[in-house]
């Protein structure tokens, strides 16, 4: 009972430590490393919170594909952050105030793992029974994802498709249009 809570608290504290290290890091490759470690610990956290499918997705997508994407982008980018002496007090104050308000509100949230909290009352028992009797898939997450909430998943695929097309359109090597724009600029400058 209490050991589950202890495991959760420990893991989440490790994630906080990694986050603080992220705040202090300067070189970009160190940041990417820390993000990878952060995703790893987050997925273990998902397992201890009983979200097995989410942990699977986070492990393969969050820790794997994200890291490789960051690295592939970093190959074309400058490797070090410039030491800027700008004033960071204003963003810090905003974040602290917002965090304080959120923590103040957290006293009204239900305690972790209470079976009587409102989220567990409404529609979930029907889904669990329906998944056993009507659909017949043992994994409830799959049956909700593909059957009860099928249109959401359809919309998700549309979003991913749009993002893929947008990435291709942005990264397309369109030197012709660039040269056209530059020549137009020159025409304007020369009068």
């Amino acid at each position: 009972m209490i050991s589950e809570l202890m495991i959760n608290a420990f893991l989440v504290s490790i994630m906080l430590a990694i986050g603080i290290a992220l705040l202090k890091s300067r070189s970009v490759i160190y940041t990417v490393l820390l993000t990878s470690a952060y995703s790893l610990v987050a997925a273990l956290m998902f397992i201890t919170l009983d979200a097995v499918d989410v942990a699977f997705t986070e492990a393969s997508v969050g820790a794997g594909i994200s890291t490789v994407l960051f690295l592939a982008a970093m190959a074309f980018l400058p490797k070090k952050e410039e030491q800027t002496v700008n004033n960071q007090a204003f963003p810090a104050v905003i974040c602290l105030v917002l965090g304080g308000v959120l923590i103040w509100c957290s006293y009204d949230l239900p305690e972790i793992g209470l079976a009587t909290s409102p989220i567990h009352q409404h529609i979930v028992p029907e889904y669990i029974l329906g998944s056993r009797d009507d659909i017949g898939i043992p994994n409830i997450v799959t049956s909700v994802l593909a059957s009860y909430r099928g249109y959401d998943t359809f919309g998700e695929t549309i979003v991913v498709f749009t993002a893929g097309i947008a990435v291709l359109a942005i990264l397309k090597n369109n030197k012709k249009t660039l040269n056209k724009i530059k020549s137009q600029k020159k025409v304007v400058k020369n009068g």
Partner: protein, 137 residues
């Protein structure tokens, strides 16, 4: 005492992580760091949702043949499963935008980019002044 503190400890740390992500987004000038901050923010929101779905003494929501099993809430898991995939699509889009900005401006520091924009803007104003002077003549 310990139990009640542990009962809200997850929420506190999740809010701290959110604020770290927000600070990385609005406080840093490097565009890559901003995207890392977005990732942190996303993951903390996922953690908040999954924390709501946990039931003490429950098992993962995969049916077994024992009758009296308590399953954790599967609905947040479904939502977050969608959100993770969309989040990676967003990250890819942001990274491609950063790459494009780097090839156009030669830098990913916010101050450099805005300075170059300012110079271009002044150039544009001066040339338009010249053109208008020509038209008046």
């Amino acid at each position: 005492m310990i139990s009640s503190t542990l009962g809200v400890w997850n929420y506190w740390i999740v809010f701290f992580l959110m604020m770290i992500g927000l600070f990385l987004v609005i406080g840093r000038k490097n565009l890559l760091k901003k995207i890392v901050g977005l990732t942190i923010f996303q993951t903390s929101v996922f953690l908040l949702y999954i924390t709501f779905g946990k039931i003490q003494g429950g098992t993962p929501p995969i049916l077994n043949n024992i009758n009296e099993t308590v399953y954790s809430n599967p609905l947040p898991h479904v939502l977050i499963l969608t959100a993770i995939v969309v989040g990676v699509a967003t990250t890819a889009l942001g990274l491609s935008l950063v790459l494009r900005i780097n090839s156009e401006y030669g830098s990913i520091e916010e101050e450099d980019i805005s300075a170059q924009d300012l110079i271009d803007y002044h150039d544009l104003i001066e040339t338009s002044k010249k053109i208008s002077v020509k038209f008046k003549k």
